[in-house]
Symmetry: D2
Subunit: 106 residues, 4 copies
Amino acid sequence: MAWESSSTAIRAFVHERDWSQFHSPDNLAKSIAIEAGELLECYQWSPGADHADVRRELADVLIYCLLLVDELGADVDELIAAKIQENERKYPADRARGRSAKYDRL
Amino acid sequence: MAWESSSTAIRAFVHERDWSQFHSPDNLAKSIAIEAGELLECYQWSPGADHADVRRELADVLIYCLLLVDELGADVDELIAAKIQENERKYPADRARGRSAKYDRL
Amino acid sequence: MAWESSSTAIRAFVHERDWSQFHSPDNLAKSIAIEAGELLECYQWSPGADHADVRRELADVLIYCLLLVDELGADVDELIAAKIQENERKYPADRARGRSAKYDRL
Amino acid sequence: MAWESSSTAIRAFVHERDWSQFHSPDNLAKSIAIEAGELLECYQWSPGADHADVRRELADVLIYCLLLVDELGADVDELIAAKIQENERKYPADRARGRSAKYDRL
């Protein structure tokens, strides 16, 4: 499975550096927010961005997300599938179609 | 492949709501940062967090990340593999082992 | 008034560089989030942080906040006073005392 | 002095609730990032935003910033003045004028 290969590569990278000691869930949540800020920096002054920079920063966000998924003993696809089901209830297609309003303002 | 099934489910959810019109790369980068903040909120006052909340917020970050990967016409695993290769150069295992220092301070 | 001197110094710095053209409210909101991520990075792996780094990153957050206050034609103290009043309603001292629970869970 | 009156009001609000026990520097840094994300949410899908919402979220960012300034035993205006001086070195007006490039790319 695709993301399994990514998770395996990330685990190996972390293990070789003995870094799991730093990867408490709250440190990983901080790291995801930090990297999300670096990704946003690619778009700070204009909607156009350097694709190579975006790919690097987006990868950093994903890597920390996969480490937190691991920490939770969760499965990426189950995690996402469950949230999509919740979002389908919060955003009924007929009412949400073409609107960016938040569910509590639909 | 796992990512693929998630990406397919996300695309269907977005298509049913005609939401791709809102998903410019910069709006997705903002959305990733916003959801990363909500994930961090689970750990705002203590390292302990409600796992159900964490899973929901982490899923939101991942969903927007996968939408941006799509927008870039990229592949999640290639994106991550390329960044791990770069990190292996920036953080040689022998010098980085057991240290949380940033590469420019190793 | 103290913050007036800061706002005046910031306006002069921006004017000398003809940077107000970049300071739309949404770009400033992005900038605040980006700098907040850099501030958080000081605490990424431990609660201890380099004070000089923290002061620099905190100043960056404050500078962009003051620029957005300007853009809104608002007054820092009125802005803060109004929010404290709102928070006093949301967090009655007798129920919120010593608890970090969010208002909707008090 | 303006900042002083705001800082005094914030300290009183926190004291009445016995909340300083939660306000470690790292928790305040997390809180600033969380509120910065809520501010950014006002601009998630369009540059137009509800001014009342923006004022509320911006106030939250400022309140946590002032609490961290307090924790550091720092002075807002000195903090900002020192950073502006640093930025004047990093962004010489003649080279930075009208350009949004980062200092290392000027």
